[in-house]
């Protein structure tokens, strides 16, 4: 195997492991390099087998899945298990072993002459259509994720304070928190108006509610200018 090819392969193996272990680089880069390293290793390993392109493609895909699963089972029975470090070290070791095993092999890179004809243009067009379809599907999810939701929940409680949380998405308005003991409604607390202005990204607001007695308290989230209770909590204060 030429020295240049060995160096490129070593760079790919080390680069992939390094990028993954670093963890700070873009996922597009780590995914591209990682997938390239995995494909390069299995391609080299199965290269002598497979009479046709499709045989080789099957061998590559099947061997990759099998190698990952068997490697995972082996890692499970080590003290360290399947962590980011052990996976990357194990795959790097496997890559080096394959490189040594196939050291007599030589890769000939031939860039195919791609004719510009109806077929090649249709492939490009189809790829563009499928990418567009993916973008359409993801945009639908973004719209769906941005539908209005409003939750009111308990964060913590103590003898003097109950901390509540408002989680909202695509909701805006002014609300008040009204709290009173369930049994005797005499001690009533009403918060100052809370302005909620949540876009599709959501908004979280925590509010503290003072409580003056033990027992069960009812905590309502209502519109600031009065109206029906929107959400309600029932909390025991001890």
């Amino acid at each position: 195997m030429p020295v240049l090819e060995v160096l490129v392969r070593l760079l790919l193996i080390a680069g992939s492991a390094g990028i993954n272990l670093d963890g700070h680089l873009s996922v597009w880069l780590s995914a591209a390099v990682g997938l390239a390293a995995m494909v390069a290793t299995v391609e080299l390993a199965v290269r002598p087998y497979g009479a046709t392109l499709f045989d080789r493609l099957l061998m590559m895909a099947g061997s990759l899945l099998a190698a990952l699963i068997l490697l995972g089972v082996v890692l499970n029975f080590t003290p360290w298990g399947m962590t980011l470090e052990t996976w990357n070290v194990a795959w790097a070791v496997l890559g080096l072993l394959v490189l040594f095993w196939r050291r007599q092999s030589r890769t000939q890179v031939r860039l195919p002459k791609i004719p510009i004809n109806v077929l090649s243009l249709s492939i490009v067009l189809a790829a563009a259509i499928i990418i567009g379809a993916g973008a359409l599907a993801i945009s639908a999810v973004r719209k769906w994720d941005g539908k209005p939701v409003l939750a009111f929940s308990l964060v913590s409680s103590s003898a003097t304070t109950i901390t509540t949380e408002i989680d909202a998405t695509s909701v805006s308005g002014r609300y008040s928190i009204v709290a009173f003991p369930q049994v005797r409604k005499t001690s009533r607390y009403t918060s100052k108006p809370i302005s909620v202005s949540a876009g599709t990204g959501g908004q979280t607001i925590q509010e503290r509610v003072p409580v003056s007695a033990k027992g069960t308290w009812v905590i309502d989230l209502e519109p600031a200018d009065g109206g029906t209770v929107i959400r309600e909590l029932i909390v025991d204060v001890e």
Binding site: L58, L65, T83, V149
Partner: protein, 647 residues
């Protein structure tokens, strides 16, 4: 590049005598324009599925007709190329692969950012626990056997760690790899058995008519990896280097180990297939070197892993067997039959879908009869491998018959993924047999007058029987989708439906689950309905209670959500050790689409005619010691740790 080869590769049949037709087919390669149209047509079908998904999310509903039209656009154009004898062998295989990947891409178009089907969310939890604990065999309350068959999850976790991709993307990579292995593995195994590229491509195409192909075999679920690896295992055995002797079977045995680790029933199916193949070699006196050793080693590997998983596997399999036997028994007594093509909430499928489903079953039966008869008549000349596949084909009647009882429906559907391997091959072998070609030549003579009278304007020439086959395949595919994908509300996203798996996973349910993950202690014992329980485990990190984990039968535990308030409610919660109760008030708005709100054995399961009242779901508002700690308008979460439980 998929271009017609000129002069084309000579087509060889192992048994054909119709050489003139072969030579005619080889004379003129298929024009590139038709291939281009097929490529673009399929991509437009994928776009149609994305549009279907968009409509479902934005407007709340989408048209099933649109779903089937776009799916047909994915399937039909490549089918016409695959069945055309003027297409080169590489073109046919290329289009098979393209179509199969396009079909799995349609799943991604429906749910591009997260797994939303029931089994997918179950397996997602297994990946999360592997990532958290770095080891296997953590518990899964919803499906306890799955952590013991972690092949899919290991591969996904590996891709996550080796590429930095998030879980869903890594899982999608694994699914695409599995689809490549399935398509090419099946094709090349068929090629080895038949020695004929037309038979192998037709058989692989017909396999896509399997009801499980579109949905279940594309799901993030353990069988999705195991089944393709089964084909890969047999392929590796068939191409082994005989010079290496018994070491030649080492890769095949390694892949058998992968299957054993990935799915229980697939590994058993592999072992049974290998021994059946061996038996045929003995009966036909056609020895296959090392097959007995391969079958023995595979059996040992599967047995060893089954021993490892026995604690969860035995109750799981016993439960399925008991249910199936009960279902058959009930059906024979006329008791437990269910309404076909109608879900548990009473939604009936449209008549045209019913007709499609029935047509696909009829077509399969029509294909089965001559194919099996052909195999039987030629049993002495067929190879043991071909006879094994024909034997598998004979089992097809189990698939439609199993649909008659609700308890056996799912088992029958799962079996179709294995049985269609045999059915597809047996039919393809019969289709290209000399006998059937003689029948069609006779029919062609009768139709030649019509052809002279009505000269086709279009120059895309295909033999009439191929058009017939393409039409039958399209009908069979669409009908298989109806059969295997369930009611049309489950095809993709849309507005909320009560207890409807993917249609019940919406923003409100997810909001509650994410909140549980942030605010409830990991592993907290919660009781809730089927879908919220799935989400609570996977995204909330809490432990949904089942009869196995709580020690209380489902019929009693389900009183907490489905029965009117009673003085026994705190006692039931205490008995089950319920720390949190998640009550989705929307369960009171309709009957469950999958037949249950929570699980089998729940309160009023077999006699319910109306949903529970809203007050049944919110009764813990009135119970001393219970605190309502979360409210998003639909879902309320109660902290029951303050109940006065008697020790």
């Amino acid at each position: 590049m998929m271009r017609a080869v000129y002069p084309p590769q000579p087509v060889s049949y192992s048994h054909a005598r119709d050489r003139t037709a072969v030579m005619r087919a080889n004379a003129q390669p298929l024009a590139q324009g038709w291939s281009a149209l097929a490529i673009i047509g399929t991509s437009l079908g994928v776009l149609g599925q994305a549009w279907y998904s968009y409509q479902g999310r934005v407007s709340g509903s989408s048209s099933p007709a649109e779903f089937y039209v776009s799916l047909s656009l994915v399937f039909v154009p490549p089918t016409l190329i695959i069945l055309n004898r003027r297409a080169s062998k590489n073109a046919r295989i290329g289009f098979l692969l393209y179509m199969s990947l396009a079909l799995i891409a349609t799943r991604f178009m429906l749910y591009p950012t997260m797994f939303e089907y029931h089994d997918e969310i179950v397996h997602e939890w297994n990946v999360i626990t592997i990532d958290k604990t770095s080891h296997l065999f953590a518990s899964n309350a919803i499906l306890p056997v799955t952590p013991y068959y972690p092949g899919l999850e290991i591969a996904t976790s590996a891709v996550e760690h080796l590429t930095g991709l998030p879980l869903h993307s890594a899982g999608t990579v694994v699914l695409f790899l599995s689809r490549i292995v399935m398509t090419l593995g099946l094709l090349l195994v068929f090629q080895k058995v038949s020695g004929n590229s037309f038979i192998s491509t037709l058989a692989t195409l017909l396999y896509t008519l399997n009801p499980q192909y579109l949905l279940f075999n594309s799901e993030f679920s353990y069988q999705t990896v195991a089944l393709p690896m089964c084909f890969f295992c047999i392929y590796l055995f068939s191409v082994r280097s005989r010079r290496l002797g018994i070491w030649g079977i080492a890769p095949s045995v390694a892949v058998a180990a992968v299957i054993a680790v990935s799915h229980h029933l697939t590994s058993v199916a592999l072992v049974v297939t290998l021994w059946t193949w061996y038996l045929y070699t003995r009966m036909n006196k056609r020895r296959e070197p090392d097959l007995a050793l391969f079958a023995t080693l595979s059996t040992l590997v599967v047995a060893a892993w089954t021993w490892v998983a026995r604690k969860e596997l035995i109750p799981y399999i016993s439960g399925i067997v008991q249910q199936s036997v009960g279902g058959i028994d009930g059906l024979l007594s006329g008791l437990l039959g269910h309404k076909l093509f109608t879900d548990a909430a009473g939604d009936k499928e449209p008549d045209w879908q019913v007709l499609l489903a029935l047509a696909s079953v009829l077509l399969a039966c029509l294909a089965l009869a001559p194919a099996v008869w052909y195999a039987y008549r030629n049993r002495r000349s067929l190879s043991p491998a071909a006879l094994t596949l024909a034997t598998v084909a004979v089992l097809y009647p189990i698939v439609p018959a199993g649909q008659l009882a609700a308890a056996t429906g799912e088992v029958a559907e799962r079996a179709s993924g294995f049985i269609f391997v045999g059915l597809a091959f047996a039919f393809a072998s019969w289709w290209y047999s000399p006998g059937i070609q003689r029948v069609y030549r006779a029919a062609s003579k009768q139709l030649s007058d019509l052809r002279r009278r009505y000269r086709p304007a279009v120059r895309f020439r295909m033999r009439r029987r191929v058009w017939l086959l393409a039409l039958a395949a399209a009908l069979g595919f669409a009908g298989g989708v109806v059969d295997g994908s369930g009611p049309d509300w489950g095809y993709g996203p849309g507005s909320y439906l009560v207890s409807a798996d993917n249609r019940s996973v919406d923003q409100l349910a997810l909001q509650a689950a994410y909140w549980e993950g942030q605010h409830l202690p990991a592993g907290s014992r919660v009781y809730t309905d089927r879908v919220n329980g799935l989400l609570a485990q996977t995204y909330g990190g809490v432990a949904p209670l089942t009869p196995q984990t709580s020690g209380v039968p489902q019929g009693i535990l389900s009183y907490l959500l489905l029965a009117p308030a009673s003085t026994f409610d705190p006692e039931i919660a205490c008995l089950g050790g319920v720390q949190y109760l998640i009550a989705d008030q929307r369960l009171s708005t309709g009957l469950p689409h999958v037949g249950i709100y929570i699980d089998n054995g729940e309160y009023l399961q077999s006699t319910r005619t109306a949903p529970p009242a809203a007050s049944d779901l919110t009764k813990f508002d009135q119970v001393p010691g219970a605190q309502r700690i979360f409210d998003n308008g639909a879902i309320r979460i109660y902290n029951l740790k303050g109940l006065a439980c008697q020790s």
